[in-house]
């Protein structure tokens, strides 16, 4: 079990309100990701759920029980910190065993659980090392091991992969997703990396300045962003926004179109411009296009290696059905 409910939760540090009244339900077994720009209150929200920070007003319920004033240890949640927060003077074995020792389990049970967790996380060979003697990815696994031995009702992750290099990040992302498949435990995961959010989440919560902009599955957010902020935040490269004449044609204040929804054509096409920077990735090519008369720059994604260079003229054909329309307040027009 691990259903978490926030009811009219607010948080202020002194006189600055970081989180205005907020309602959110995280269902049991769900992998929920909080995304948003830096400083939007993702960590704060996670720490409120963990109990490391006191709620200013409102209620938190875990599995239907009011947990607002329950101490962190008694909430049955486990947290993995960005800095891993391993205990440097204890061996990996002692680190993983620590929550069990605090729960006063007998030694045989502790040993058995630690061995089991180590086996799952490929840490068996490192059990007698200190955290200082491990690589970043291994430390991350120890931190996860320390969380899973407690068999919590939910895991809380605060940007657990941000200290790892790109390749390791992709690997750990898969491992965490697999762990979720296997344990089926609720996971709440904070990141500012929208690729992590898109690939891992069952449900994404997009935050801006403490306010929930939209909640939905990754594809819902991608296909029907509720406003310009979400539209710009989800998707990479970023959606192109056009105002003025082009938007008026579609009966909107602003229209957005994703780079992957504009086709590069030999000739004709509705739009044309000159190639600024062309990023050739092999599988894709990203063009940053100027002088279109639509916007400062237009980003376009072409499949495969398209051999257009800096300064070339490019012909473009947007897919009409893929336009997103927004009104003057930035909200989606259905």
């Amino acid at each position: 079990m691990g259903q978490i409910q926030l009811k009219q939760v607010t948080k202020s540090f002194g006189s600055t309100e970081v989180i205005p009244p907020l309602d959110l339900t995280i269902e049991d077994g769900e992998f929920t990701v909080f995304v948003g720009p830096s400083g939007c209150g993702k960590s704060t929200l996670l720490r409120l759920i963990a109990g490391l920070e006191d709620i200013t007003t409102g209620h938190i319920e875990i599995d239907g029980q009011d947990a607002t004033s329950v101490v962190p240890a008694k909430r049955g949640l486990a947290m993995v910190f960005q800095s891993y927060a391993l205990y440097p003077h204890m061996s990996v074995r002692k680190n993983i065993a620590f929550p069990l020792r605090m729960a006063k389990l007998d030694q045989a049970a502790i040993d058995q659980k630690v061995e089991a967790a180590a086996a799952v996380l490929n840490l068996t060979d490192y059990l007698d090392r200190r955290p200082g003697q491990l690589s970043g990815g291994q430390r991350q696994r120890v931190a996860i091991g320390r969380a899973i031995v407690r068999e919590p009702s939910a895991f809380l992750f605060d940007e657990p992969l941000s200290n790892l290099d790109a390749a390791l990040r992709v690997g750990m992302r898969l491992e965490i997703s697999e762990l979720h498949e296997r344990l089926k435990t609720t996971m709440v995961y904070v990141t500012h990396d929208q690729v992590e959010a898109m690939t891992m989440a069952d449900k994404i919560v997009v935050l801006q300045a403490g306010v929930i902009e939209q909640v939905g599955t990754p594809l819902e957010l991608y296909r029907t962003p509720r406003n310009i902020f979400v539209a710009g935040f989800i998707g990479s490269p970023k959606m192109n926004f056009l105002t003025g004449e082009e938007a008026a044609k579609h009966g909107a204040h602003t229209v957005g179109i994703r780079p992957e929804h504009i086709d590069v054509v030999e000739s004709g096409g509705a739009w044309q411009g000159t190639v600024g920077v062309a990023e050739h990735l092999g599988s894709d090519t990203f063009f940053h296009i100027h002088n279109t008369g639509l916007a400062e720059t237009l980003t376009v994604r072409a499949i495969g290696d398209v051999s257009l260079r800096h300064g070339d003229t490019i012909h473009l054909s947007p897919r009409v059905e893929e336009f997103h329309r927004f009104d003057a307040a930035g909200l989606r027009i259905a």
């Binding site: 101490v71 240890a73 947290m79 910190f81 205990y87 003077h89 620590f98 605090m102 407690r150």
Partner: protein
Amino acid sequence: MATKASRSAARIMMAPAVVLLLGWMLVPLIMTLWFSFTKYLPLRGDSIERGLDWVGIANYARFISSSSFWPAVQTTLIMVGGVLLITVVLGILLAMLLDQPMWGQGVVRILVIAPFFVMPTVSALVWKNMLMDPVNGIFAHLWRFFGAEPVAWLQDASLSSIIMIVSWQWLPFATLILLTAIQSLDSEQLEAAEMDGAPVIKRFWYIVLPHLARAITIVILIQTIFLLSIFAEIFVTTGGAFGTRTLTYLIFQRVIDSQNIGLGSAGGVYAIILANVVAIFLMRIVGKNLDA
């Protein structure tokens, strides 16, 4: 500073300082060793110009067989141990207190450090005359206010009183070192332990204390070196009476009161040995924290 040329240049430039320091240390050490094997009583007309008589280990034998020797060693160890215990325990508590965010933190920190800037002689005199005086001292007034008989601190509880005075002087040092160590503790570790179900006491025991181990080691080693040679505090308070005669003080009495430089030098060599024994002993117990 990595090329060969820059390294040898560094060596040449450091040489004068090294030579000076070596001379500074070696000359007194060798002279002490030499005197300790000779009969050197200036009042009886012995002097270096006229040559000193070699007496072998007679001074050593006499110093160690003196009835004051072992009590002095014991007093020294009790005093050093007592001060270490008080400063480390209170230092940890004060450091944790000062680490809490509070109003007027800066001022409070300076106040805590203040005793360290007072000269040992001055602070001992202040304690003796203003606080511990059995008639006019603040403690005496306090005791009388509560209807108790004032304590003659420096006579009836002389060793404890001196331990108290010296601890007061060294507490700032311990607090300061431990405070910087506590400030370097990653708060996420404490939060992780909190979530792992460790109550405050266990967080202190399993997280804070191990984190402080290295700083505590440093405090103990440095303080021991200085505490073994405590002198001014004893000189101005009890003058070595009432069971406060440490090894350092005994040597002083042999050299100055009895004007026996040979015997005092032998005592000095014993003091060096004691200091080394204590240092090795401490290194063994706590030193492994240093290379962790």
